[in-house]
């Protein structure tokens, strides 16, 4: 009975459904993730926009910065920046602008916010990408080495230095790196972002390292424990007993499975990188988004603050959505779970 049921049920449409089900499920999952992504960004935009009214101080007074205001000028400037409209209308104007890449006008730079941000973007992207590479390479290397050398003095040394690194705030790292490599050894410049691609990379070595230090420690520790967990699994034992080379075991069986937790942590790190970059940019005199955010908050330059916060929130949520979507692709167990192969 049971057998015939199983046999008959798929018969009406076995061909399109069998391969279709996992894809449909995947699409459904993706659609859900993307839907919640859009919803999160929308809610953030509302919070980001209206939080301005919670901050004391009038942006117009900032615009006039200590000069005797002419009442007509105040009225004009208020109208130019759209501050005379009701908040809801201002929100609608802003959010429809954002969709087309128009974030309004910066009060401090008297320039389009999108231009101000695009000017700063290369430095911050350079910083985050270089830090990301350093974190991935050094963090993974340290974690893999420690897990392979488990229990030895080298493992303990790596764990100890990881704990030390994790405790170093990025501004302390920046000061030490400037003192040693810029002032004492003169190997790297102490400020600025240079001109041209290679010069920028050269200028960003120390700042990226300062930014990466504590994150290298986090990724290193997560990698080590994820690797150890995988080493203890049966399929690794099986692979080893079947005579697979140790390198292949590590890469194909251990690291691949350990990537899930590492990826999850890395997604969260992106937000941390964007936040910490403000401090590093300040220390190295870099004109990036972080230092721009700090000065904009201070100067009540709310169009810039709103734009940066929205961009960071969107980037953060997008990366985490991507990690969620990539998870099943990378993790072979999730694929295997579908029972097809």
């Amino acid at each position: 009975m049971a057998q015939s049921n199983v046999a008959t049920a798929p018969t009406p449409a076995p061909e399109p459904k069998a391969p279709g089900t996992p894809v449909a499920a995947g699409l459904k999952l993706a659609a859900g993730k993307i839907g919640s992504f859009i919803f999160t960004v929308f809610v953030s935009s509302v919070i980001v926009f209206f939080s301005r009214w919670l901050v004391p101080g009038d942006p117009i007074n900032f615009l006039l910065r200590g000069r005797s205001p002419n009442p007509e000028a105040i009225a004009e400037v208020t109208a130019i920046y759209g501050l005379d409209k009701p908040p809801l209308e201002q929100y609608w104007h802003w959010v429809t602008g954002v969709v087309t890449g128009d974030f309004g006008r910066s009060l401090q730079y008297r320039q389009d916010v999108s231009e101000v941000i695009l000017d700063r973007l290369p430095v911050t992207l350079g910083l985050v990408v270089m830090s990301g590479i350093m974190i991935a390479v050094l963090g993974l290397a340290a974690g893999i080495c420690a897990s392979l050398l488990r229990g030895t003095w080298a493992d303990r040394a790596i764990i100890a230095s990881m704990s030390g690194l994790a405790a170093i705030p990025s501004f302390v790292g920046a000061i030490v790196l400037i003192a040693v490599f810029a002032v004492q050894l003169g190997m790297f410049p102490s400020f600025g972002s240079g001109t041209g691609f290679w010069d920028m990379i050269y200028h960003l070595v120390l700042p990226s390292l300062a930014l990466a230090l504590s994150f290298i420690a986090v990724v290193g520790r997560v990698t080590r424990s994820a690797m150890l967990e995988e080493f203890a699994r049966e399929h690794v034992e099986v692979a080893r007993s079947r005579g697979v080379t140790p390198v292949a075991v590590v890469i194909r069986h251990v690291l691949r499975n350990a990537l899930g937790p590492i990826l999850t942590v890395s997604g969260l790190l992106v937000a941390g990188l964007l936040v910490s970059s403000a401090i590093v940019e300040q220390a190295f005199g870099l004109a990036g988004l972080g230092s721009l955010l700090v000065s904009s908050v201070d100067r009540l330059d709310f169009p810039v603050v709103q734009a940066i916060v929205l961009i960071v929130v969107t980037a953060f949520v997008a990366i985490n959505t991507l990690v969620d979507l990539l998870g099943p692709v990378i993790d072979p167990r999730l694929k295997a779970g579908e029972g097809a192969r």
Partner: protein, 546 residues
């Protein structure tokens, strides 16, 4: 009771002295600064350069907000702007005024100013300057859509008209003594009318840039990091043509990074290095620190007249409780001069000697006397009341002044709270009445843009925007208004001396000390005049190789 009082007082005195002494020690410039102030001489002009420079790199402590002259009102904005955009008149190192883009100015009636425009002056784009450009440039200050920060300088202006091909006439509704002199600064900057029209809302920002007549031409503005200029070969004033082929302003907000860059030679020079680093810089042997004329007075603005400081007697007592000589040593490493006036002596250069003597010699001194000050506090019945001093981490002097003032207030029986805000929030105190709520005292370095103290006195008239404590005195308002309408220099300065005396009696702001303009140049360069006029004079053009 008496003994207890005495004991607490001496304890507080000791605490105040300890604060000043320990802060002096922190300053690090000179260990005995409390006792012996370092001597410094004012330099009028540094040695003439012997050659050209490929590149002159200069530090800025903050980025200019804009290079639009209508919004240039702070040190970084004007230091940069002065080298690329020029005014109708020129402000000299001694604060006197001479011809600039106007070859002469005449004053045929009390309400008419006629400017003859210099011929054959080129803008950076190669076009020739004419009367239309002058009219368009000046008229912007009257345009509400521009919202010029210099609007008040033009408050009495009725019309600005081209009266011949090379002549512009400005008429005012009533005689205005300082309008003409204002045209030596940012209010008088001349920009090409066509460029203004083309750049529109982007004029003066990192995108739109500027197109003026100065010795340097803007090439690139990397927002947040640096501004690059090139020598302008078509510059009209061939005698003052730039000696450096390139000029680069690097934004360095961190004072330690700035001093390091000076010492290592990464940056050639900078205005106003931190006073507590002067000893260190001099000792480095990498260059030299110069001192020059300044138009600034460091003072404490009383921002709240509802609190105990609303009472002039209490203000006097507070000023008497501050050891201003000690403060000069602690806050400025000795590189300053104690004062009782709210205007610097340098802005009285146009007055005759007798008037200068009257303006400064007849002022009441408020000697350091804690006992007498404490007695006043008791008599006025404000003992135990609280004052809030708002400060920001903007340098050693800010910290020292705030702490010394708090200690001084405590030493005479007031309670003092120090409220530290961010540098930009501090800037907001000067424009936003909301931001000033809850603050009684704010330290300021208030400089004047012209060689006339009326620029200072006019802001303390009843209802003026910068009259932060709402000081109001009918006799004072009358004196200042009369002076502003008096075109005769001697008579005007005599009235100004009276205004200065009233401020000295009433103390709406507490005068502390005058600092010189400080300039650092490394040993590769020379030529600048270390004067506050660097805000309005193309000073970088004078610098060349040593």
């Amino acid at each position: 009771m008496k003994t207890k009082n005495f004991n607490t007082k001496s304890l507080k005195l000791a605490a105040a002295a300890a604060v000043v002494l320990s802060l002096t020690a922190c300053g690090g410039a000179s260990p005995q600064a409390g006792a012996v102030a370092p001597t410094y001489e004012l330099t009028e002009k540094t040695a003439a350069p012997t050659g050209e420079l490929d590149k002159l790199s200069w530090s800025l402590y903050a980025e200019p907000y804009s290079l639009d002259y209508a919004y240039a009102f702070d040190f970084p904005d004007n230091q940069v702007l002065a080298n690329t955009c020029e005014s109708l008149l020129r402000l000299n190192p001694d604060m006197s005024v001479s011809p600039g883009l106007a070859t002469k100015f005449e004053n045929p009636t009390p309400t008419t100013w006629v400017y003859t425009i210099r011929e054959n002056v080129k803008f950076h784009d190669g076009s020739t300057m004419g009367a239309d450009d002058v009219v368009a440039s000046l008229k912007r200050h009257l345009d509400p859509a521009v919202g010029s920060f210099w609007y008040s300088a033009f408050a009495n202006v009725k019309s600005i008209k081209k009266t011949s091909t090379n002549q512009v006439t400005v008429t005012t509704t009533k005689p205005d003594a300082i309008l003409n002199e204002s045209l030596s600064g940012a209010p008088g900057v001349i920009e090409s009318a066509a460029f203004l029209k083309k750049a529109g809302g982007d004029y003066g920002n990192a995108n739109g840039g500027v197109n003026c007549t100065g010795p340097f031409e803007l090439k690139d503005w990397r927002s947040g990091e640096k501004l690059s200029f090139e020598r302008f070969d078509g510059y009209w004033d061939t005698k003052n043509a730039a000696k450096a082929k390139e000029l680069e302003f690097v934004v360095m907000t961190d004072p330690v990074a700035r001093v390091n860059a000076f010492k290592s030679g990464e940056i050639d020079g900078g205005w106003m290095p931190p006073a507590n680093a002067i000893g260190e810089l001099d000792a480095s042997g990498a260059g030299k620190v110069y001192f020059g004329t300044n138009s600034a007075v460091q003072s404490l603005i009383v921002t709240n007249t509802q609190g105990p400081l609303g009472n002039p007697e209490v203000r006097k007592a507070l000023l008497m409780s501050i050891d201003r000589t000690g403060l000069v040593a602690a806050a400025e490493a000795g590189y300053a001069k104690r004062t009782n006036a709210l205007s610097a002596e340098s802005v009285w250069g146009a007055a005759d000697e007798a008037t200068q003597q009257a303006a400064f010699g007849e002022l009441t001194d408020y000697p350091y006397d804690v006992e007498a000050a404490a007695k006043i506090i008791q008599e006025q019945g404000v003992a135990g009341q609280e004052i809030t001093i708002t400060t920001a981490p903007m340098g050693n002097n800010f910290a020292v002044v705030a702490q010394a003032t708090a200690a001084a207030a405590e030493s005479i029986g007031l309670k003092a709270v120090i409220n530290t805000v961010t540098p930009n929030a501090y800037t907001a105190l000067f424009s936003d009445p909301e931001a000033r709520k809850g603050t009684d005292l704010v330290y300021t370095n208030w400089y004047l843009s012209i060689g006339d103290p009326l620029e200072m006195f006019s802001i303390l008239r009843t209802g003026d925007f910068s009259n932060y404590g709402n000081f109001s005195d009918a006799a004072y308002d009358k004196t200042v208004n009369e002076a502003l309408g008096t075109l005769d220099t001697d008579k005007r300065f005599a009235k100004s001396a009276r205004a200065q005396k009233i401020l000295n009696e009433d103390l709406p702001w507490l005068p502390l000390y005058e600092v010189p303009t400080i300039l650092w140049m490394n040993d590769k360069i020379t030529g600048a005049s270390p004067s506050v006029n660097h805000l309005y004079y193309p000073w970088a053009a004078q610098i060349g190789a040593k």
